[in-house]
Symmetry: C2
Subunit: 248 residues, 2 copies
Amino acid sequence: MPGRAQRKATKSLSHPPLADFKVGVDNVIFSVDTDQNRLLVLLVMRQEEPFFGQWSLPGTLVRHGESLEDAAYRILAEKIRARNLYLEQLYTFGGPDRDPREAPDSYGDRYLSVSYFALVRYAEAELIADRVSGIAWYSLEQVPDLAFDHKQILEYGHRRLRNKLEYSPVAFEVLPELFTLSDLYQLYTTVLGENFSDYSNFRSRLLKLGFLEDTGVKVSRGAGRPASLYRFDAEAFAPYKDKPMVFI
Amino acid sequence: MPGRAQRKATKSLSHPPLADFKVGVDNVIFSVDTDQNRLLVLLVMRQEEPFFGQWSLPGTLVRHGESLEDAAYRILAEKIRARNLYLEQLYTFGGPDRDPREAPDSYGDRYLSVSYFALVRYAEAELIADRVSGIAWYSLEQVPDLAFDHKQILEYGHRRLRNKLEYSPVAFEVLPELFTLSDLYQLYTTVLGENFSDYSNFRSRLLKLGFLEDTGVKVSRGAGRPASLYRFDAEAFAPYKDKPMVFI
DNA sequence: CTAATTATGGTTTTTATTACTATAATTAGG
DNA sequence: CCTAATTATAGTAATAAAAACCATAATTAG
């Protein structure tokens, strides 16, 4: 097999030898608690070294015969029972020295992390606590120190979330299936800050687009006039799929 | 070292053992020939197995102590002498069976590719032909069959280019430092197709934004009134950095 | 019963986009 | 050297979208 021969040969030539890698998958899983207007990220307590006892993004090492996406889904399924699910690749972090298991200056394994970005609905997502129970939703402002470079990965995921919110209908992946226009507006303000159109204009713009279906059902939440429950109509949205900026 | 112990232990448990990886970096390097309005991608002829003699994206395997980005820059520097350079990570392709060097159903190494997206200026980019001379710019419509899953990676890079063109000033990474508004418009039409505002409106919209500096120098290209040469003013652009869709 | 609160459905004003027109400065060709 | 074709530039008018603002409806709190 010439490929193998070639590779072995490389090691004996002038340039440094190739690195061997273990590949991990780490998930940034976001959700939103619409009742309390909190943007949440799922963290797990590490049960092994390194960083034993520290919070981290849920992750796993990739197994034989398993694709990266498979691994991402596997770790997700181990931590959470969700009815809906949005998942996409985020970024790959692979510098040397990002994992303390890499023996410095030696030719041992490197650890690379392919991160994934996921969204689930808070009310429908059931966390799977293992016996040691180290799993929890954290409000974005209260995230503690994280293992490895997971703080950086989280920050990257947060940026992606803010971007995607502006031009894709990911909001409906974290909102319950039926939601009020207020819920939707609150979601946008909690994630993006207050710096966009006021509620009234936001409403009329979105309603005019025609992919929000009014179910007619009213809900009363505390004081004030009851609000209509809406549903996202994916088919009606289709024409806007590749158009930029329909939400802001 | 508990981390290592943990890893070894894993292998003997019920779930399948972890995969070992070699990590490659593959670059999708775009350029634009403004004279002929061609969108170009850099391809190299493979000099080794697998896919010996086939065209491929320029790539390399990551070495010890080398970050992913380092590897991307290294391969770029080996193929091209460029004065300007734009580089960002694209996507990571890591499914099993994407590289024929992976022995099927065995526990040998997997091959993972972290792809990078690069832009250079055509006129200022000097290709470095090695003795076997397998390196060339290919017009996007004439790309031949590529090794591995490189066609897929290229397609992904092309999509990224189209997207970035709409909301970021990457156009000025592929245009020469001084360009006419016609050059800029042609670039947009060749990459994006004809489906956006006409030339006149494109002009006035961009000029009003104020980050295109008129040098006053005129160039005549064949018939017609001579055009002004413009320069991109990065400082003046700064306020638009996070604003969506200034170019379309 | 009244005030406070939230949702809703607008209008008006301002700004941006689109379609279109006119003119300027050059080259190509007789 | 003159005229037509060509390309660049500068604008205006019509249209559409965005932003600011306002009035009213339907509920709860007290």
